[in-house]
């Protein structure tokens, strides 16, 4: 899993089968000190509560689909938690 900031939303009416009702958010991946690292990705919101401005962690690849209520959805990034705090010692 990686840290990310939710920076936007995506609305798509025409979607492949299985993606109905899935919320898509644009997530900027972060390094562990909270600085942007790499290109933003479109991630499915497995929590159904994440929103713009929140710091989250997300999972990529096959495990992204496992996070969704229907586990056979074609998604490659999914938000699985909202960060309260990152403690780096």
């Amino acid at each position: 899993m990686q840290l990310g900031d939710v920076i936007g939303t995506v609305v798509a009416t025409m979607k492949t089968e299985g993606l109905e009702g899935v919320r898509f958010l644009i997530v900027q991946p972060l390094d562990r000190s909270g600085q942007p690292a790499g290109d933003p990705v479109v991630a499915a919101d497995a929590l159904f509560t994440a929103g713009v401005g929140e710091r989250v962690y997300f999972v990529a690849s096959r495990e992204a689909a496992v996070a969704m209520p229907n586990q056979f959805v074609p998604v490659d990034h999914a938000i699985v938690g909202i960060v309260d705090q990152v403690e780096i010692q």
Partner: protein, 95 residues
């Protein structure tokens, strides 16, 4: 598996139900000389590792689900061992 060093903890109240009760660690990835590569993973801690310890971290989903005994866990990265010693070409690394 990869070598990593625990550098911190992620605190999260709202999370996927499969992550309830699991500690999340920030794991800095290490190269074979023991230096940080600059990369990191947020990993489920299955063994109670402490900050600063060198660990073995998995980055593969079906193994993670096996360790967590949860077929619905949306997790790839799991801390699965605390490293005592690494030797490469007869030379021990500081761990």
């Amino acid at each position: 598996m990869k070598l990593g060093r625990i550098s911190g903890t992620v605190v999260s109240t709202i999370n996927h139900p499969s992550l309830d009760g699991w500690q999340l660690r920030v794991v800095d990835l290490l190269d074979v000389s023991g230096a940080s590569t600059g990369g990191y993973l947020i990993a489920v801690d299955s063994i109670g590792a402490s900050t600063g310890q060198t660990v073995l971290v998995l980055d593969e989903g079906s193994s993670a689900r096996q360790v967590m005994a949860d077929v619905d866990a949306p997790v790839r990265a799991v801390v699965v061992g605390i490293v005592d010693e690494v030797t490469i070409d007869g030379t021990s690394l500081e761990v």
